[in-house]
């Protein structure tokens, strides 16, 4: 039997993903987020784990460097890779949204036309504003998006929020939802065919565990 290589995302989805995969028999020693080993192998069950940055994960899967992976829908929407999206794992609930400094709130979305938007998600942001008929200047950043309006780099932001605490702390207010997102199980196109029975069983087992754990 060939190895099944699973890509896990660093960050907030990591722990829950490892936990659920272990419950359906996919585990290995020392699958930890700060692992020094780049590839963690379980010889007995023919599984390999790789731990990668979230934005890179779809690329690993698209090229077949990993057979399957778990990743947020927000990243899939941004990266638009040619992969199978097999299962909504329902955890890691968050939403991609538009926020502005409270003091500069305007009456409706289109009142913000022609302003600058800082975001880690330039493709999603462009698409969203295009649909709204707004021409914006998109500024791509790699982190700490909330900082941008505070220091005058942009007037608004498009970013992921879970609870909204960070927004509040920085006096930002959500004005529109771009897209809600949860964790998804994805697969490489070729791996899904060549290891179909194994991956299909994994999907079904995960579905069962989700029912048992009442993840909705």
């Amino acid at each position: 039997m060939p190895y099944l290589t699973i890509a896990l995302p660093k960050g907030k989805l990591f722990a829950k993903s490892v936990e659920l995969l272990a419950k359906v028999g996919y585990s290995a020693d020392n699958v930890v987020e700060d692992s020094r080993k780049l590839v963690i192998t379980n010889e007995a069950s023919k599984v390999k784990f790789i731990i990668v940055k979230t934005m890179d994960l779809p690329t690993y899967v698209e090229y077949g460097a990993a057979d399957i992976g778990i990743i947020g829908k927000d990243v899939l929407l941004e990266e638009k890779k040619d992969i199978y999206e097999l299962l909504d794992m329902k955890y890691g609930k968050c939403r991609l949204m538009v926020a502005v400094p409270k003091a500069k709130k305007r009456a409706k979305l289109t009142d913000y036309a022609h302003l600058r938007v800082a975001t880690k998600y330039p493709n999603c942001a462009s698409e969203f504003f295009n649909k709204a008929g707004m021409q914006m200047t998109i500024i791509k950043l790699n982190g700490s998006i909330e900082l941008a309006p505070i220091v005058g780099l942009s007037e608004m932001i498009v970013d992921i929020v879970e609870t909204g605490t960070t927004l509040k702390e920085n006096n930002l207010e959500e004005i529109a939802v771009v897209q809600p997102a949860t964790a998804r199980l994805i697969a490489n196109k070729v791996s899904f065919k060549l290891q179909f029975n194994r991956i299909k069983k994994l999907v079904e087992d995960l579905q069962k565990v989700m029912v048992e754990e009442n993840i909705k």
Binding site: Y63, L86, V190
Partner: protein, 392 residues
Amino acid sequence: MSENKVLQVPYGTKDLLPGEAGAKRKMEDNLATNFSQWGYAEVQTPTFEYLDTFALGGSGITEESMKFLDRNNRTLVLRSDMTTPLARMVATRMGDEKDIKRLFYIANIFRYEQTQAGRQCEFSQAGVELMGTPEPMADAEVLALAVASLQTAGLDKFKISVGHIGFLAGLMEEVNLTGQEKEKIKQLVLEHNAVDLENYVNTLSIDEKLKGVLGRLLFLQDGQDMLKKLQKNVHNEKSYKALENLLQIFAFAKAYGVSKYLSFDLSLIRNFDYYTGMVFEAYTPDMGFNICGGGRYDTMMSSFGKDCPATGFAMGIDRIILALQREENFSSKADWDVFVAWEAGFAQAAIKKAMELRAKGKKVKIAFSSMNEMEAEQNTLENNCTSLVYIR
């Protein structure tokens, strides 16, 4: 010119160096021999054609096509696939539509797109088109030839998924979906998005049993038993006939001895609007993209004025080479048989000897200056020659 200025090639193009180019040529020669053993004749079409031709062909003009203008400002396009030009050629140049035509090509294709593994903006394809017959036996021949070609190229661990456009089309017609709903479903199937497909199908007001089939389409992958089971559960003629057609093709594939490579995937519809029947793709481990794909396209020729059923496939030569390299099954080292060196005063004799050896079919390199025997041995190695002939 500043010292660090290196001349670049455009995005998505590359050079093939000695060795690489030779190995590719050898593979192409082997493929060409194989195609002709199956009765296929080679054809060539222009590298660029009028945009109208590709628009008619139904492969669609997208931002991927490389377009430019001729001197009369008509739009030209570098060929973005070979099926359309071949259909154009056969329809306009090759007489009676009732004749069966077996054609093959080895050609470079051009598409602006994000480069992928083994897929640059310019890449080469080998392929066949079998025109003039709707018979399932013809589809089986194309499948069997695809298997033989991949084997000829040196692959053996590949697998082929076979689907049928008619299955999904029939299901969607059966439940009277609107054009928009059909497009949405096709889009989600093409994107391989099982999550949204199931969610979307559940919002439609259609029969619960059909929801189960349509919503789980991406998981309909298995052997021929699955087809037989599904036949009992579909209630429209089109889907039923699609399954029947696949079973007939499979029976012929058995006779060809290639059925062990095949499995069925009813979500396989390929991203071309022109397919009408059986479609297939081939995959090999260690390569995240398909290496070969094709299918039946019975209506395309009619856009060129001839009603003519047709089927065929194309394989990506660069991708196959990459897959072979990953299996460490591909040598791109150029080598020669003999190095002819000579002592001062023996140049003419050396030329004569080299010509003799070449006449015997040897691959020969000759030295351009005299050298002693030790230098000659060194040079033999440096020139990748297997043996030395030293003339004195």
